[in-house]
């Protein structure tokens, strides 16, 4: 058994003629929190979508827990223990919060396990517990983000891919979401976190990859990258002298 949860080699993703991801390689070890940061349009979402098979790569290999994912449809990839919390949440807006969560357990229907996970999600996000009967489309942005994360947890994944969970949220909510991400990691779930909020991402993750126009420009431990002057100038908006 491979000790890597995810192993990406020379991944290329294109839309028509536009190459969005230009041959990146990336590893996520079991139990790690890794972050993939980069500006808007750098190719972060495309990378995550190709991992779960929503966008087929034009070349390169993706291994999930040692298994090559080439040509495997999304529902099978998900069955192997990965969950994507998509950019923009993508909750089932006309369904209730409870129905959204139950759909998260589509492949893990056994009732006792489902109920135990629901209880855990409600403990993690008490605001969802108060709104189980509410239509998901009427939740606030932050609550929808919580729901999207909880829905992913309902499938009992071993690896969670999070696409910009802080996007469009007030700072207080962002802090709350990131606390829960750390808690999820503590429970043994591997995390690949995509963020534009570089500071927070580097504080949360152990290792980081910096994506610039479809290529990995920098990689290393989060602590190292936090001190890297290039990162400080370009992403943390800091005066290098400060």
């Amino acid at each position: 058994m491979s000790d890597l949860a995810l192993e990406i080699r020379d991944l290329r993703v294109a839309y028509g003629g536009i190459v969005a991801v230009k041959g990146i390689s990336l590893d996520v070890g079991r139990g790690e929190i890794v972050t993939l940061i980069g500006a808007n349009g750098a190719g972060k979402t495309s990378t995550l979508k190709s991992i779960v098979g929503l966008v087929p790569p034009i070349s390169g290999t993706i291994r999930l827990f040692g298994r090559d994912l080439r040509g495997v449809p999304t529902h099978r990839i998900v069955a192997d223990g990965v969950a994507l919390v998509p950019e923009g949440r993508a909750v089932f807006s006309s369904m209730s919060v409870r129905e959204n969560l139950e759909l998260g357990s589509f492949l893990k229907r056994e009732k006792a396990g489902r109920e135990a996970r629901l209880e855990r999600c409600v403990r993690l996000f008490p605001r969802l517990g108060e709104r189980l009967a509410q239509e998901a489309g009427t939740l606030s942005g932050g609550e929808q983000q919580m729901l999207a994360i909880a829905r992913a947890l309902m499938g009992d994944p071993k690896l969670i891919l999070l696409d910009e969970p802080s996007l469009g949220l007030a700072p207080k909510l962002v802090a709350q979401i990131f606390e829960s991400i750390l808690e999820i990691a503590k429970s043994g779930i591997t995390i690949l976190l995509v963020e534009q909020n570089t500071r927070l991402a580097l504080e949360t993750a152990e290792r980081a990859y910096v994506l610039v126009t479809g290529e990995v420009a920098l990689q290393g431990s989060a602590a190292e990258l936090r001190e890297d002057p290039r990162i400080r100038a370009a992403y943390l908006g800091e005066d290098p002298a400060a």
């Binding site: 779960v52 098979g53 929503l54 449809p73 999304t74 529902h75 998900v78 069955a79 969950a83 994507l84 998509p86 923009g88 993508a90 909750v91 089932f92 807006s93 006309s94 369904m95 129905e99 139950e102 759909l103 998260g104 589509f106 492949l107 229907r109 489309g137 829905r151 499938g155």
Partner: protein, 305 residues
């Protein structure tokens, strides 16, 4: 007054047939955003499948001997026709629609029209172009309640349709496949991320919609006595209008639309002129498109980003 009640009863029974067919239009539209123009032909093939199943069970002999066709065999005819239509519907999906699913929207629409024309002509070739008398799967027994004449056939149509629609409701709200259908219709990619096999879910949708249309076909045959290979054209169109009236994509809307179209048709035939019975459907279509294009129970599409 009794005249009015009479018309309403006939309208309800006709409307429940439209409702059964409208469900297939609305389910497929909900999940693929495709108007399945071949659905009227699935209804027609369902009616013929019932015809041949009844013959195979020796309905002629029962009729010659003056004996009623046994109820278990009538139920078997219904189930066989539903299974045959489900097989046809899923085959159409697999061979005609799946290859063009990612093409621009006009392509599947034209494909659907092509499949519809193909099946009309195949129907004339295989079943013969002449109308056929539908076998008396149920022997007609009229009875009178307060001056209103009701037949057991009208009641059966209403009861069978209601039972199937109730079953559909439980299926869609209470089973994992039903939930998957709703999830795919709301957000296909998010549904995939839940581990839902979208292809399989679409196939289930076609199977169920087609089976309901076949039930509609048999009830239509019982009610109207005659069937022909082009019967799906007008009736399919009316059921489609019913789906639009109710709000295409909405399951309760299809039921409501079907009943309303049936009532409108019957009341127009009874009080205005039988000549207008088909025209009224299209008057309704024009009014809906002008006044409430999302339909009675449809929701205005609002994508939350």
């Amino acid at each position: 007054m009794t005249e009015f009640i009479q018309q309403v009863i006939n309208g309800l029974s006709l409307g429940s047939i439209y409702a059964l067919i409208a469900l297939g239009y609305t389910m497929v539209y909900g999940i693929l955003r495709l108007i399945n123009f071949a659905h009227g032909e699935v209804f027609m093939v369902g009616a013929y499948a019932g015809y041949y199943a009844a013959s195979a069970f020796g309905i002629d002999a029962y009729e010659r001997g003056g004996r009623a066709f046994p109820l278990v065999l009538a139920v078997a005819v219904l189930l066989l026709a539903m299974a045959a239509a489900a097989a046809l519907g899923t085959t159409i999906e697999l061979l005609a629609y799946r290859p063009v699913r990612k093409a621009p929207r006009l392509t599947p629409l034209i494909t659907a029209i092509g499949v519809s024309l193909f099946l009309q002509n195949a129907g004339m070739l295989v079943f013969g172009p002449n109308p056929r008398r539908y076998p008396p799967i149920l022997k007609e027994v009229p009875f009178e309640i307060g001056g209103v004449i009701v037949t057991n056939i009208k009641v059966t149509i209403f009861v069978v349709a209601l039972a199937l629609m109730t079953a559909l409701r439980f299926f869609v709200l209470g089973t994992w496949t039903g939930r998957a259908m709703r999830a795919v219709s709301i957000h296909p990619d998010a549904a995939r991320l839940m581990g839902i096999d979208v292809d399989r879910t679409i196939r289930a949708c076609f199977a169920i919609g087609s089976a309901l249309a076949a039930a509609g076909g048999i009830l239509f045959g019982l009610d109207q006595i005659m069937i022909n290979p082009l019967m799906g054209v007008l009736t399919g169109l009316k059921a489609f209008v019913a789906a639009v009236l109710g709000g295409i994509g909405s399951i309760p809307g299809a039921v409501l639309g079907g009943v309303l179209i049936g009532l409108a048709e019957q009341l127009t035939a009874g009080y205005l002129s039988p000549d207008y019975r088909d025209a009224i459907t299209f008057v309704i279509l024009i009014l809906v498109l002008m006044l409430k294009p999302e339909g009675l129970l449809g929701v205005v599409k609002q994508e939350k980003v």
